[in-house]
């Protein structure tokens, strides 16, 4: 195991301290992450070729250049954690457990695809991987919802919700921020800033290009997203934060080498020079390779072997996939509903198709929440009220203790100045417990659940 000091990799926003700058790297981890980065890049090379050969159709968004983000993050995510991302989803799909075969086959549209060829490039799913999403920004509130499920189930998991720099301007992102903060959700918002939307540079689409600050009242961390070790550290830091203090925003500063999608040559809105400079100076794989060699965790030969093996394996996979078939026409009307109610589905000219469920022969099954998992825990406003109640009880306890220490009466735990019982306050959500009576001033916030420090970003008016 070697120790290594990170440089220029983080900027903090509303955080007392960031991730540690000294990181450990074992030979095992180094080789694993290196291999994964090489794999996900190679997968894209294969996809690129298959697209050009017209085996893949429609949209196809490549991840080349951004590999360190997915690999670094997945290096520390655990089985219980979940991920949701946008349409640039290949690397994520693979790292979240879908085989390269299942992934590429999906893009080719054959039956062996992880969505049986019905979803295509943007719609791949796995265990705790809630997919790509073709609607810019739509996955972000869904991610907050998944985080709410983690909180509700108390399973200790966090949700990573990824979105691009372009998506960061979507209103629904801000709605998700607000609710995640209010409810203290274990959500890690990750902006993969590759510096362009669909042909639009960040300066043309975002009024504030410091994407790690855009949570405003949510702490943020800027990360050099082309350094896999920085990403890994930042992610561990973010997981700890999300579990203990609620949401956090990570900006992974990175770059995409290819066009936005296969139909974009990627040269109309940026110079070839710009792309070339990043490729030579900041390539995530190249720079990690150098780090590994410098630390003597592996030698050149070993790494070359990995490269060669990955290349060979994927070539074989790609070849094999091309022999696979699409699903039969009977699946046109399959799996529209998990519990279908109308056996006949309307075809182009009449109700001549039969619905069927093939979910069971696919990689996953429709999972229903078993009654044992349904809990009576407060969420949303109820969670808020519970937190208020807890805070109020703690304050009573403190006062009582203080009073006792001074030898005064403990007032039976009530502290209403005018002697009203606390339940006199009408401002309680349904089902909530009574809490302290309010002052005539507009009410102050109780601490949101699990949030130890109040937000700071708002406390600095200049004059």
């Amino acid at each position: 195991c070697s120790t290594l000091t990170l440089k220029n990799t983080f900027k903090c926003y509303e955080l007392e301290k960031g991730p540690p700058m000294d990181v450990e790297l074992s030979r095992e981890d180094a080789l694993k992450m290196y291999t994964q980065m090489v794999e996900v890049r190679r997968i894209e090379v294969v996809c690129n070729n298959l697209y050009k050969a017209k085996h893949i159709r429609g949209f196809c968004h490549l991840y080349n250049g951004q590999e360190a983000v997915a690999v670094g993050m997945c290096a520390v995510l655990q089985k219980k954690d979940s991920v949701i991302t946008a349409y640039r989803a290949h690397a994520w799909t693979y790292l979240m457990g879908v085989s390269a075969y299942g992934l590429i086959a999906e893009l080719v549209g054959v039956k062996t695809g992880c969505s049986r060829g019905k979803g295509g490039s943007m719609h791949t799913y796995g265990d705790n991987f809630y997919g790509g999403n073709g609607i810019v920004g739509a996955q972000v509130p869904l991610g907050a919802g998944i985080a709410l499920a983690h909180q509700y189930k108390g399973d200790g998991g966090v949700c990573v919700a990824l979105y691009g720099d372009g998506a960061s301007n979507q209103g629904q992102v801000f709605e998700a921020y607000n609710m995640a903060k209010l409810w203290g959700l274990p959500c890690i918002f990750v902006c993969e800033n590759n510096h362009y939307g669909m042909g639009t540079s960040i300066h043309r689409h975002a009024a504030l290009t410091d994407f790690y600050m855009r949570g405003q009242y949510i702490p943020g961390l800027w990360v050099d997203g082309n350094q896999v070790l920085a990403v890994r550290s930042a992610t561990q830091f973010a997981i700890d934060h999300a579990k203990n203090c609620g949401p956090i925003v990570l900006e992974m500063s990175t770059y995409r080498y290819e066009g936005h999608s296969m139909s974009d040559p990627g040269t109309a809105y940026r110079t070839r020079d710009e792309v070339q400079t990043i490729r030579t100076k900041r390539d995530p794989i190249e720079s990690f390779r150098k780090q590994i060699l410098q630390l003597c965790l592996a030698d050149e030969e070993e790494l070359k072997k990995i490269d060669a093996k990955v290349r060979k394996d994927l070539q074989a996979i790609s070849k094999k996939i091309l022999k696979d078939r699409e699903v039969g026409l009977d699946e046109l009307a399959a799996d529209i509903y998990s519990k279908n109610l109308e056996p006949n589905i309307r075809g182009v000219s009449g109700f001549n198709l039969k619905h069927k469920n093939v979910a069971d022969v696919c990689f996953g099954k429709a999972r229903r929440t078993p009654p044992s998992e349904i809990k009576d825990v407060p969420i949303g406003d109820a969670a808020f009220a519970a937190a208020q109640k807890k805070a109020s009880e703690e304050s009573k306890a403190r006062k009582a203790a203080a009073a006792a220490a001074k030898g005064k009466d403990g007032k039976d735990g009530k502290d209403g100045k005018d002697g009203k019982p606390p339940s006199d306050d009408n401002d309680k959500p349904k089902d909530a417990e009574p809490k302290e009576a309010k002052a005539a001033e507009p009410p102050k916030a109780a601490a949101p659940p699990k949030e130890p420090a109040p937000p700071k970003s708002g406390d600095k008016p200049k004059s």
Binding site: N133, A138, A334, Y337, K339, L341, G350
Partner: protein, 243 residues
């Protein structure tokens, strides 16, 4: 959460994932016109949502519907849109004891015959069921027995119940408070065109719908913007050739 999210994220995911990821979510809320709330707060979304495969859409009328359909929606593994009517929130209906049972469910996708009849079928959903029932009572006075069908579900549409009824009555009108174009009645008309039940009809199907305007605020206009009992009764008589 806007309409596109309902469709794109909830309705399509099960299909796109080839059955790997189901989306057991219920969207519920007031739908259609309330009283005096004008155009922006008065719109029936039944046809919009029901246009989209992957969603189930229900539109309860009375207490039994509201309880039974919502409970079924919650227990269902697919995304269900429950379109409630604000004006019905305050209306109490007598209910059978069984309705209060914790396991009382109203099956999704099945219509209910609210009143049997042999002369004409009146199909409606949500608050329009009330209008249909009032009209049936009025028609009864003229010796016409109308069969009133409460759709309950808009997607899937329980056409079998309607076809069966029409095989008996040979006449059909639809009543809805939503707009006509591409509405619920329109689909029922189209289904008849495409089914042998078409030849059971002794007259074309007729639609009573919300007037094709945004909902006005002024009381008289508002009242006249939705089908009322006399409108439905007149339509029924016309379809029956009695006027």
């Amino acid at each position: 959460m806007n309409d596109r999210s309902v469709i794109n994220s909830a309705a399509k995911t099960f299909y796109m994932s080839a059955g790997a990821v189901n989306v057991p979510i219920v969207f519920r809320g007031p739908n259609g016109a309330s009283a005096g709330v004008a155009a922006q707060h008065s719109q029936c979304f039944a046809a919009w949502y029901a246009h989209c495969p992957g969603l189930k859409v229900v539109s309860p009328y009375d207490t039994e519907d509201a309880r039974g359909l919502l409970k079924s929606a919650i227990r269902d593994p697919d995304p269900v849109v429950v379109l409630e009517n604000e004006l019905m929130y305050g209306v109490a209906f007598p209910v059978d004891e069984k309705v209060t049972d914790v396991d009382f469910l109203v099956p999704l996708g099945k219509a209910k015959i609210m009143r049997p009849g042999k002369d004409i079928t009146i199909v409606a959903h949500s608050k329009a069921v009330e209008t249909a029932l009032l009209s049936a009572a009025e028609l009864a006075k003229k010796g016409i027995e109308a069969e009133v069908i409460n759709l309950r579900s808009i997607r899937p549409l329980d056409m079998q119940t309607i076809f069966t009824s029409v095989r008996k009555t040979h006449h059909l009108i639809t009543v809805e408070n939503g707009w006509p174009q591409h509405g619920v009645g329109a689909e029922i008309c189209a289904r008849f065109m495409e089914d042998p039940a078409f030849f059971e009809l002794d007259a074309p199907v007729w639609r009573c719908c919300g007037v094709d305007v945004p909902m006005p605020y002024a009381k008289t206009l508002e009242l006249n913007a939705l089908p009322r009992e006399p409108d439905v009764t007149a339509a029924a008589l016309k379809v029956l050739g009695k006027k």
